[in-house]
């Protein structure tokens, strides 16, 4: 009896061993050595992630813990797990190099829709590509070095011969190659352009009947994002500028009460109403930070923008 587990070699005997596991583990006869080749999310999860996060996503606890992925609100939007899987976190190594974009989509879709999670899957190969560390390709490097002095828009306008005039007239917006994620790789601003810096803008009260300090007063991250952008738009209008003139944005988000981290997905829902739309197609460069707190404890969002006067 002593050696029941370790002498159990048939797969059927595995059931006794995995009493703790709610789902099956990969069968040894299905084992393929070397690189991960499957694009099936469940297969990838069970042969890769489940070692630490466990087959049922329950996580594990020793001297430290492996977080549970089951019923995990951080999985609501694909951007978060994509970032973690690709870049690692804490003791977890960066795993992005093991899986291609399609495999990542399969894996994250599995996470969002299984293990007790029931989120609308939103992973796309574009999102994954955008989440990967930026590696400068030779083509991009050439582009930056050789085309920087002139603007493509100026060339299109036939002003290529007069670089000073051309520079004054336009910003070059470099999209992220192969990605539809709605931010820029880079914004190229001519030396003589006028830059306009707006102070950090914060949310507006959307329900003044709500108690002071309550979460309803300013709304959730999405609502606060919307009201903040509405304020920014009003400020820009007063300066004779538009949202389309914004080239740079820094976003500070606070984790909503009870949540483990910032609601990036909620922010994105507000953001895409103002940038990359048919009416306002221009995109800015952007950074998003999670911060411990803002001046008002009810605020979850503060946004700074820089615009170029056209």
């Amino acid at each position: 009896m002593k050696s029941t587990f370790i002498t159990a070699l048939s797969i059927s005997a595995m059931a006794a061993l995995s009493a703790h596991a709610q789902t099956t583990t990969p069968a040894t006869d299905a084992y393929s050595p070397g690189a991960y080749t499957s694009t099936d999310g469940e297969e990838l999860y069970q042969s890769f992630c489940s070692g630490c996060h466990m087959p049922d996503g329950a996580g594990a606890e020793g001297a430290g813990v492996y977080p549970a992925l089951a019923n995990n609100p951080n999985l609501e939007y694909a951007a978060y797990p994509a970032y973690i899987v690709i870049n690692g976190q804490g003791g977890m190594p960066a795993l992005g190099s093991f899986l291609d974009d399609e495999q990542m989509v399969g894996l994250i879709t599995y996470l969002q829709t299984n293990l007790g999670n029931d989120y609308e899957p939103d992973a796309t190969v574009e999102l994954i590509a955008d989440s990967r560390p930026y590696v400068e390709t030779e083509e991009t490097a050439e582009h930056e070095v050789r085309e920087a002095p002139t603007s493509t828009e100026a060339e299109a306008a036939g002003d290529g011969g007069d670089t000073a005039m051309a520079a004054a007239s336009a910003v070059t917006r470099h999209p992220i190659p192969g990605s539809s994620f709605p931010i820029l790789l880079a914004a190229e601003v001519p030396a003589d352009a006028t830059l306009v810096y707006l102070s950090g803008t914060v949310p507006q009260v959307i329900d003044d009947t709500a108690e002071q300090g309550s979460a309803d007063r300013f709304g959730d991250t999405k609502a606060q994002t919307q009201s903040t952008f509405a304020s920014i738009e009003a400020k820009l209008t007063s300066l004779d500028l538009t949202m389309g003139d914004v080239i740079k944005m820094q976003v500070y988000l606070v984790a909503p009460g009870g949540a483990e981290g910032m609601d990036f997905g909620g922010f994105m829902e507000g953001y895409v109403q103002y940038f990359g739309t048919d009416a306002q197609p221009n995109l800015p460069t952007r950074s998003v930070f999670e911060v411990a707190g803002l001046a008002n404890p009810s605020w979850l969002v503060e946004i700074e923008v820089v615009a170029v006067r056209p």
């Binding site: 370790i6 890769f48 070692g51 020793g62 430290g64 960066a94």
Partner: protein, 525 residues
């Protein structure tokens, strides 16, 4: 004409270039130890009852405990496990190991048999560890790293049949020596080799590659003397040796089996290597004999706070669930960053950022016990390692108990990072053992008939570390910050060394941390 002996050469260098030049010259000639271990540390000054709290009773923690008590500190050690040693660990008959996820393995090896899931061999040039083995009376025996009669194997080479390392090594060396000797002889390397050196180079290639007078590597009793004979020389009637056939040069190159020849040549694998008699935890037990009375076991640290007055550590007694507090003037923290990053602490921002961003790598080992030593009895392999391109990567035969009857344990798999490590990590223990058998039997067909029992350890599932060893995202940028004393706390361990995953790294890191902390306490710097 003056003869330059080694001694008067050293004198000349010492006179003209100063003593540091002499030291480096001696090092390169093999006289001095090229290590920052300079012998037992000598801490001077009375700490006047200053209390040190040490977190972790692995080799770094116990090194600190031993040395700091010796100079007069009051020392308390907290350890998560029920025993000392941390990753310096041996599983033997009767042991029970529960990995994360709950799978329990009861080790059913025969009495005296064991497997070292963590460190398993000691390079002779790991001077700190070797010195502690001597001082702590840890008896060592040779660990056979290099065995030319063991196999090299790739599934796509030689129809997936294993080849003796001596054959690949000799033929690889012989064939490339022949090529090079011919190139030199035909004046094709005139740009690279002076006329004066040409003949010397050819002479050396003849010796290195066992070439004949025509600079050819051919089937002969000479080459068989290196690669093995068709029939070995004997005595008495019919004792004449018969030469063996050579492997085809192009096949040797294409086989890629030469990939496995260089491992033995690295500093960390130079012969002789050693192992403690009876299991690697002999090292842990050696330290524990000295400092075991200072260690509180089953203590799970949950908080590490420091202020101007001291250090306060909150911990859970995992046997009864109670919450306890320990205080001290200073702290040596050897908790792996994979765990420390999850503990509530108020270490400074720069250090904290490094702690929270150090990934830990994975590794898998599988110990297989067989009913008899078929590798010795059938294949004349006594210790050493066979290498394969399969996931198990190597099979290491026991460096002890040769010729004995009865069951013996070999290392049936050893993965290091990479997808195979994650795949093993996602398996249950019996599945890992089954894969080790499936792959190992391609090298040793006796596997299935002779298998008795096994045990496997995947380091991401080890509860007290959550991984095998620390990986630096940017060591050049972060190292000096990570090793600084942060007010009253200094971190130490293999992760804070340039010898990641080696016991020597843990010991040297700890000795350095302890020396600097003592200096600060005594001299206030």
């Amino acid at each position: 004409m003056t003869t330059i002996t080694r001694r008067n050469l050293l004198t000349m260098i010492g006179t003209t270039a100063g003593s540091s030049a002499m030291y480096f010259a001696m090092t390169s000639m093999g006289h001095a130890q090229p290590s920052n271990y300079t012998g037992p540390i000598e801490l001077e000054g009375d700490p006047k009852g200053t209390k040190i709290l040490i977190l972790g009773a692995g080799l770094a923690g116990m090194t600190a405990a031993l040395e700091m008590r010796a100079v007069g500190y009051e020392v308390e050690v907290l350890e998560y496990r029920e025993k000392a040693g941390g990753r310096c660990w041996t599983l033997r008959s009767g042991d029970t190991y529960t990995e994360l996820g709950g799978a329990v393995q009861e080790v059913d090896f025969a009495e005296g048999n064991y497997i070292n899931p963590g460190p398993w061999r000691i390079p002779h040039n790991h001077y700190g560890l070797m010195d502690y083995c001597k001082r702590l009376n840890v008896p060592l025996e040779p660990f056979i790293q290099t065995n030319y009669n063991a196999y090299v194997h790739r599934e796509d080479a030689y129809d997936g049949k294993p080849v003796r390392m001596k054959e690949i090594m000799t033929d690889y060396r012989g064939h490339i020596s022949e090529l090079l000797a011919k190139a030199v002889d035909q004046d094709r390397l005139d740009d690279l080799v002076t006329d004066a050196d040409k003949q010397l180079l050819i002479d050396s290639l003849k010796e290195f590659g066992v070439l004949n007078d025509d600079n050819e590597y051919v089937k002969s009793l000479s080459t068989s003397g290196y690669r093995g004979y068709e029939k070995q020389p004997g005595g008495g009637v019919g004792a004449a040796p018969i030469a063996s056939d050579l492997l085809d040069p192009s096949e040797v190159i294409q086989s890629r089996l030469w990939e496995y020849l260089a491992t033995h040549e690295t500093m960390n694998h130079h012969s002789p290597m050693f192992q403690p008699i009876g299991g690697m935890d002999g090292v842990a037990k050696g330290f524990e004999r000295q400092v075991g009375d200072l260690i509180t076991y089953n203590a799970k640290v949950t908080s590490l706070q420091q202020d101007d007055d001291g250090v306060t550590v909150t911990w859970e007694n995992t046997t009864d669930g109670s919450t306890q507090t320990s205080t001290a003037d200073y702290c040596v923290c050897t908790i792996p960053f994979s765990v420390l990053g999850q503990i509530d602490h108020n270490l400074s921002g720069d250090l904290s950022a490094i702690i929270s961003s150090m990934p830990y790598n994975g590794s898998t080992k599988v110990g297989l016990e067989f009913k008899r030593r078929f590798w010795e009895q059938d294949e004349d392999i006594f210790g050493g390692i066979s290498y394969t391109d399969q996931s198990i990567s190597q099979i290491s035969y026991p460096s002890t108990g040769y010729m004995s009857d009865g069951p013996a344990v070999l290392l049936g798999a050893y993965t290091w990072r990479g997808p195979n490590t994650f795949k093993f990590n996602a398996m249950q223990p019996a599945e890992r053992i089954e894969i080790a058998l499936q792959q190992g039997e391609k090298i040793h067909p006796q596997y299935r008939d002779e298998f008795k029992t096994g045990v496997s350890v995947s380091w991401h599932k080890v509860p007290w570390t959550l991984g095998c060893s620390g990986i630096w995202n940017d060591r050049e940028r972060d190292y000096n910050t990570a090793v600084q004393i942060d007010n009253r706390v200094v971190c130490a361990g293999e992760h804070l060394s340039y010898m990641s995953a080696w016991m020597e790294g843990a010991i040297l890191s700890s000795l350095d941390a302890v020396s600097r902390l003592h200096e600060k306490i005594i001299n206030g710097e």
